[in-house]
Amino acid sequence: MKTTIGVGEYASTKNPEENIQTLGLGSCIALCALDPKTRSVGMVHVALPDSMINPKMSIDLPGYFANTGIPALFDEMAKLGCDRRGAGFIIKLAGGAHVLGSDTNFHIGKRNLKAIQEVLDIYGLKISAMDVGGKCSRSVIIDTASGKVVVTYADRRKKQI
């Protein structure tokens, strides 16, 4: 069974038969959180760094922003028995592609990565693996049973991170 999350959405599970995926990560970044202790996994599809630009939206769709999306995901995982502050989590990232020939306004992938790192710093968490940047759109899936995170590119190449 696959649960697919859209832009700004998040999901978590400890059902080994339920995998979580997201499709078409342009400059967005999927943050995957794996908790070995409870064998739970979670994913949030972050589109922008900070909710300050649209506070109302962060209430309706907290996963859209790094600063509200990560806490929202961790709260969701806490319902599965995980530590609310993400203690012991393995964090993996994918996405954040850049636009060809883009100027700094369009470096949203980079700004997303920086914002995610800043939020993780607050939690004292490190990124253990990532496949971020480049010009290629990606999809990503977490295999809950094995904890494997697999990225698929538009050209169908797959890469485990």
Binding site: V7, G24, S27, M57, S102, F106, I108, C136
Partner: protein, 292 residues
């Protein structure tokens, strides 16, 4: 007749001729949307002649997505509530929905992806038009966004089976984009074919030029540069948030010349992205229900 890799241009132009024509109401609504202002009465006159469109307007405006406390019962209020942009979207979906909703095999896309991409581009174009340095009707920008990629529906069949080779060949270079590869394979590209289709559909010049130049807005005639740049940026906004036609995702060149026409910084862009997402979520389901 020029032959490029076994595809002759007459065959491609014939494919343009096979695309269904616009309904009278869609055509007239697009004409109104290209003007600087329109009166509600003018819109109502066009819509009321189209019974199916009228009933869809009531269906959409009274759908859960709009969450109105009391149902809308008069056409004028329905149009007023939806706005020109959504009425145009409905008219296009009802008239040439088959062009938008099919699976684009040449881009390895799923059914409906072209419509979703065009709808997000339209919403983003409207938001970006608010930052235009020259005054531009936001409904014109919206309709141009809805139309910008229609050429993909025509060129797709001639690109069938090419996506993986294209991706492999542009993987290691920054200077080659998807449009150049389309040109190499078919002798034309989706912008040019969209322009051909705009002639068949008798579209106003704002739309025809935005379609033709949305990847190279610098080449648009001066009077159409602003709209071409708006649609150019809106196309990227849609792709960045993951709304694309699949194999060509993100693989186009950004033209930084937009700064001359559009006044926004990185936060402005982020605001456009978030507003686009919100409106798309609200409108997508209600407009898509027209397909069923």
């Amino acid at each position: 007749v020029v032959q490029v890799l076994g595809i002759d241009s007459a065959e491609i132009l014939k494919a343009v001729e096979e695309v269904p024509v616009l309904s009278d109401s869609a055509s007239q609504l697009l004409m109104l949307a290209s003007r600087e202002d329109q009166s509600l009465l003018e819109l109502e006159k066009v819509v009321e002649k189209d019974v199916n469109l009228t009933s869809q307007i009531f269906k959409v405006v009274n759908s859960a997505a709009f969450g109105l406390m009391t149902p809308v019962k008069t056409l004028g209020r329905g149009i007023n509530y939806l706005g020109v942009r959504n009425v145009v979207g409905l008219a296009l979906q009802m008239s040439v929905g088959s062009v938008y909703n099919g699976r684009l095999m040449g881009y390895e896309s799923e059914p409906g992806e072209l419509w979703n991409h065009c709808l997000q581009t339209a919403i983003a174009a409207r938001e970006i038009a608010k930052c235009s340095k020259t005054k531009l009707n936001t409904d014109t920008a919206y309709a141009a966004g809805l139309l910008h990629d229609i050429g993909k529906a025509v060129i797709s069949q001639f690109l069938f089976g090419t996506a993986q080779d294209i991706l492999a060949s542009i993987e290691h270079t920054e200077s080659v984009d998807y449009l150049m590869k389309e040109e190499e394979i078919t002798g034309t590209n989706h912008s040019k074919l969209g322009f051909e289709l705009s002639k068949r559909w008798n579209l106003p010049q704002d739309f025809a030029q935005a379609i033709l130049h949305h990847h190279h807005p610098d080449q648009a005639p001066d009077e159409f540069k602003a709209i071409a740049y708006i649609v150019h940026l809106a196309d990227f906004v849609a792709m960045m948030v993951g709304s694309m036609t699949s194999s060509d995702a993100m693989l186009y060149q950004l033209d930084e010349g937009y700064r001359e026409y559009i006044d926004f910084d990185e936060l402005g862009l982020e605001r456009v992205m978030s507003e686009t997402c919100l409106e798309f979520r609200q409108i997508h389901d209600s407009l898509s229900s027209v397909r069923d």
